[in-house]
């Protein structure tokens, strides 16, 4: 089975557990809507790529972790789009959850997706449950997971490294660490790789926000400027940000710990990362 089919099947099973017949119909619809159709599923694919590079000794725990991380990512997007945060009406090329279902169901479906992520791990991760739950939870909650990253935006003074690392890097670190842990590798050695990929993706995201098109991204551009958020292009210029992106990719390559599939993993990460910024240039930035 190809990885995309495997992942969508796992996510479908997980969401069906929460959005079953007993569920209030609108909540069930909102849960499905928040998860399907997905974006590029970059994070769960990274979990599986790392698990494969480590010998994939527990495929069930690996794909359950991948699904849990994607559910948490979807939850964070739903809450991130709320009127009190980005107030974004568009996500993945369609109305955001609160735009389609109202604010109450957006709050509730985000909450239910967070719960479902941990429930799904408990159903599927078997003997790896405790370390996988700890890894994933620490990357989404406080003091330095996604929630903390968002919360830095509420502070008058922001440490940008800590902010980016919590908001974006932490979930990528969850991917590399959970992928490795699912195959019995010591997770902490895989954290640095996750942070480097996360930083590279953050720079790519900033480049796309400045130089991409809303049509291609499926979400509004120029949002960092509109929301007065830090952006690497604003700080370093387009070419500077692109150079920084390449530096971070090289850093990621150097951070891959020894494992059977080390080389192939490096190629996969480079390929997916570069595809994010392909077609962007200082000309599209000025457009």
């Amino acid at each position: 089975m190809d990885i995309g089919t495997l992942l969508e099947g796992e996510l479908d099973q997980a969401v069906s557990r929460a959005a079953s017949e007993a569920c209030p119909p609108k909540l069930a619809d909102a849960l499905r809507y928040a998860v399907f159709p997905g974006g590029a599923r970059i994070r769960p694919r990274l979990v599986l790529a790392v698990a494969n590079a480590c010998g994939n000794r527990n495929p069930t725990a690996a794909v359950a972790s991948a699904a849990a991380i994607e559910l948490l990512h979807c939850a964070s997007l739903v809450h991130d789009d709320l009127p009190c945060f980005d107030n974004s009406a568009l996500r993945r090329g369609k109305p955001s959850v609160h735009a389609a279902y109202g604010e109450r169901l957006a709050v509730l479906s985000g909450d239910a997706l967070i719960v479902l992520a941990f429930e799904w791990l408990a159903v599927r991760a078997g003997e790896r449950l405790a370390p996988l739950t700890r890894i994933i939870a620490s990357c989404v909650g406080g003091p330095s997971g996604i929630c903390a990253g968002q919360a830095w935006e509420c502070e008058s003074e922001i440490d940008i490294v800590r902010y980016q690392r919590a908001k974006t890097g932490a979930l990528f670190a969850a991917c590399t660490m959970a992928g490795a842990a699912s195959s019995g590798y010591e997770p902490l050695g895989w954290q640095k790789l996750g942070f480097a990929i996360g930083e590279a993706f953050q720079v790519a995201d900033d480049l796309r926000d400045v130089a991409g098109s809303a049509e291609k991204l499926g979400k509004p551009v120029h949002q960092d400027e509109a929301n007065q958020r830090p952006n690497f292009v604003a700080e370093l210029g387009f070419d500077g940000a692109m150079g920084h992106f390449e530096d971070l990719l090289a850093e990621a390559m150097a951070a891959i710990p020894p494992c059977p599939g080390q080389e192939q993993l490096g190629q996969q990460i480079t390929g997916v990362s570069r595809s994010l910024v392909s077609g962007l240039s200082s000309r599209t930035a000025a457009a």
Copy 2:
């Protein structure tokens, strides 16, 4: 150590994990503010009472479950008070989290408390982690946990039994089932007791909303009428609702499964339940 001290200590340890020095200061404050000082801590006390009645064979797993359930209860209150739901400015006698810290930190602290609940279980529940996570998650997410209960309020047609059971009963079922499971008892036999207590508490809550005082409760009264929510007093009258409350208590007593501390558990449940409605009468309802 008395139960109150034990519980507050466990909650303090859990919250300190998320609200540590690395946490954005306002989020850390909001997390503490949402959990301390608590209300009556009825749910975690019920977990421990059931665990004790079952022989308390794994006190660490029992108190971890109690803390996790209280954290989830606090999270639900924070989100429930948001402007898009009850828009309540007062909770436990002080400004609600969104009134004190703003809407963004209220959403984030609720999210972080949900994550923390499952993280704490993974840190502390040991070999009981999988069943306890499954029990607790199923009582807070979809299709029939707290999130689903709230989501019924977004439907045009509400099945009141299913609604009350999901919104209030489910978390009480989590308490009885987790308390029993922490001592190795089969949890499903303890679900009925939880639902009966939950229903009794819902009726008590309705009685307090109609006949209680905001000062004593630490939150506004007459909210069901204001928010056009179903209320047993509106449906059955004060005396009818009080009679229904007593029937539900009797049902709860009959539902306690055989266990070493069966009798004492019954006395504890009756005592705590009746204390909720003491001093209420049709006279205070008319006031």
